[in-house]
């Protein structure tokens, strides 16, 4: 029924559920992984909450306030003194609800009993799982490893041609969610919100890819699992915003690395918090005061945002969309023009500081910049040249066109039209939702020197919904998160679809009339 969000919606219990007999159950969750919960910790930290759990009725829509069962769940064991202390509490007549202890042994026993149905039996690459589980939880998520695992379980590899029935499909989706949670548990414990947001976003889009490929519907367990993943993203976004408020100078980790990291961190935050603000409008994650602060922060974000590579355009575009849909047309236009100008000028054919394509992460870009000078060579990028090419210039230019910024487009046309504009075209709609598409074509477009504004307008407004899975159309916010996980999916087509979806949701049109 409910799992705690670290937001305004607190019901005093971590999990609220209704068992098959119709009884309401409230759970308090505690973590002592691999250890034993001792009496001192129990008395100081847990007992007060437990008394609250036992004595206070569940406050939740639909609960009649009559009776509920209480559970304390611990992923470690309990010392005997704690068991005795809980027994004393249960004998207290003033506490109406009695508590049941669930320990690590119970959890393992259930896992063993439901193993086949719970754990993904399709998992072949246990090495990738271990590497992911043991990777540095303070670092960015090794997204490719998780993607490999999810694609195995969700039957998305080229060799996965066997038909999957609905029951098996449901099990695969729930297993994939369980695996995502377990594989990223160390990141969650380290409060690495970016990694958790990335992981659940990847899970959701991979599940959508599988739904599309296997022609299934999002219902029953699949729908509920996806809703849980969306809630996990919402929680992490809200916690990220809390951390930003707690650390207004936005410094994290070693201060020596700060000058290099700051631009990337600010740009990433602007994108994610714009998505949170969009998300909050639909799901009410934040209390009014926090919402107001976020709104103010997004209207005047930190000035250290940096276009460190073409991949940085995706979070900034999300922010520009937020400005557009929140009455900041002038600011949005100014920022968009600045992004377009930077992008087009930096990737000019003669540029010696061209931005790396969106297929390269910040770590890869920074490794080349601060690494040993090997005459432009780097281990990941080799000697790949980016000058004269762009993946992001066209979608950004189309945003300018949709906003009717004709004069600015005319001024930029000379530089824009000499670039080779790239886009990766997938063969099947579901392939839009995987990190690396198995088949497709890289299209390069060279615009004619002379081009018509009217034709450009038509192109900028043309949305091709058949190019992406149908389920993705109803989830524009997931779309914006997907751009931030896989920036090369920020294409002209997906940007136009996002814009249309947001316009429909807001009931208005944000494209300006021709200013001619």
């Amino acid at each position: 029924m409910h799992s705690t969000r670290h937001t305004v919606l607190e019901y005093g219990k971590d999990v609220i559920a209704v068992n098959p007999d119709g009884e309401w159950c409230a759970y308090q969750l505690k973590g002592t992984p691999g250890g034993k919960l001792g009496l001192t910790e129990f008395r100081s930290e847990i007992q007060p909450q437990l008394i609250q759990l036992m004595s206070q009725p569940i406050v939740f829509p639909g609960y009649d306030g009559d009776h509920h069962r209480s559970f304390l769940v611990n992923n470690g064991e309990y010392q005997e003194e704690v068991i005795r202390a809980v027994d004393d509490l249960n004998r207290n007549p003033s506490l109406t609800s009695k508590v049941t202890l669930i320990a690590r042994g119970d959890l393992l026993d259930w896992c063993k009993r439901f193993g086949v149905a719970l754990w993904p039996s399709e998992l072949e690459d246990t090495k990738a799982l271990l590497e992911l589980f043991l990777s540095d939880p303070k670092d960015t998520l090794p997204i490719e490893k998780l993607s490999t695992l999810l694609e195995q379980i969700l039957s998305l590899r080229e060799k996965d041609t066997r038909k999957v029935n609905s029951q098996e499909f449901e099990r695969r989706v729930t297993s994939a969610a369980l695996l995502t949670g377990i594989a990223t548990s160390a990141f969650a414990e380290s409060e690495n919100h970016l990694a958790i947001i990335s992981a659940w976003t990847l899970f959701l889009v991979t599940a959508i890819a599988s739904i599309e490929r296997h022609q299934k519907r999002s219902k029953g367990a699949v729908e509920r699992t996806m809703a849980l993943a969306e809630a996990a993203i919402g929680d992490s976004l809200a916690m990220l915003w809390q951390e930003v408020q707690d650390k207004p100078d936005l410094v994290e980790g070693s201060p020596l690395a700060e000058p290099e990291v700051r631009g990337w961190r600010h740009t990433t935050l602007v994108g994610l918090l714009s998505t949170l603000a969009f998300h909050d409008e639909r799901a009410c994650y934040l209390d009014p005061e926090t919402r107001k602060r976020l709104d103010a922060w997004l209207r005047l974000p930190p000035v250290a945002c940096e276009i460190w590579g073409e991949a940085a355009v995706a979070p900034l575009a999300t922010w520009v969309y937020w400005l557009l849909f929140h009455g900041e047309q002038t600011k949005a236009k100014t920022e968009l023009l600045a992004i377009a100008t930077t992008l087009i000028e930096r990737n000019h054919p003669k540029s010696s500081s061209a931005l790396a394509s969106p297929y390269y992460t910040w770590q890869e870009v920074i490794a080349k910049i601060i690494g040993p000078n090997c005459e432009g060579w780097s281990p990941v990028m080799g000697k790949e040249a980016f000058a004269g090419n762009s993946y992001m210039a066209e979608p950004i230019f189309h945003m300018l066109v949709r906003l009717g910024m004709k004069k600015e487009c005319k001024d930029l046309w000379r530089l824009f039209s000499i670039l080779g504009h790239h886009v990766c075209l997938h063969d099947e709609p579901w392939q839009f939702c995987v990190l690396k598409m198995p088949t497709g074509a890289n299209q390069t477009r060279i615009y004619p020197a002379t081009y018509s504004w009217e034709v450009l307008q038509e192109e900028a407004h043309a949305a091709s919904p058949t190019n992406t899975p149908e389920l993705m159309h109803s989830k524009p916010l997931l779309q914006s998160l997907w751009w931030q996980v896989a920036p090369y999916r920020f294409t002209s087509a997906s940007s136009t679809l996002f814009s249309c979806a947001m316009e429909s949701a807001s009931g208005g049109c944000h494209s300006s009339a021709d200013e001619g």
Partner: protein, 115 residues
């Protein structure tokens, strides 16, 4: 053995790439076939005539690359020497470059968003 395999792979990739380019260029009449005749200056000038050329701010051609198989490299050098040293060929070459420069100027002057 690994080196042989790598060479073979590189050769296959190169054949595939040039095969694809040739197919596309044939479709758009952008190839010059010598029909068994040796490579000569006239064929090179014809090739240059079919190409779109860009120029730098000083008016010099930019972005031209020539790929010739090893067995043709000596012949290629001879052809280039002929074009530069034979007055008739040199005149033809200069006229061709001037024509291309004019086309480039027209193209860049017309580089605009209209409407």
């Amino acid at each position: 053995m690994i080196e042989n395999l790598a060479d073979e792979m590189a050769r296959d990739m190169s054949h595939h790439m040039f095969g694809s380019i040739e197919k596309t260029l044939d479709e758009y009449d952008q190839t010059v076939h010598l029909h068994g005749q040796p490579l000569g200056p006239e064929a090179v000038l014809e090739m240059l005539g079919k190409m779109r050329m860009d120029f730098d701010d000083a008016g010099n051609p930019v972005g031209l690359s020539v790929i010739v198989p090893p067995q043709l490299s000596e012949r290629w050098e001879w052809v280039v020497q002929q074009i530069h040293e034979d007055p008739v060929l040199r005149k033809k070459y200069d006229e061709l470059i001037e024509q291309k420069r004019g086309e480039w100027r027209d193209r860049e002057t017309a580089r605009k968003l209209v409407g």
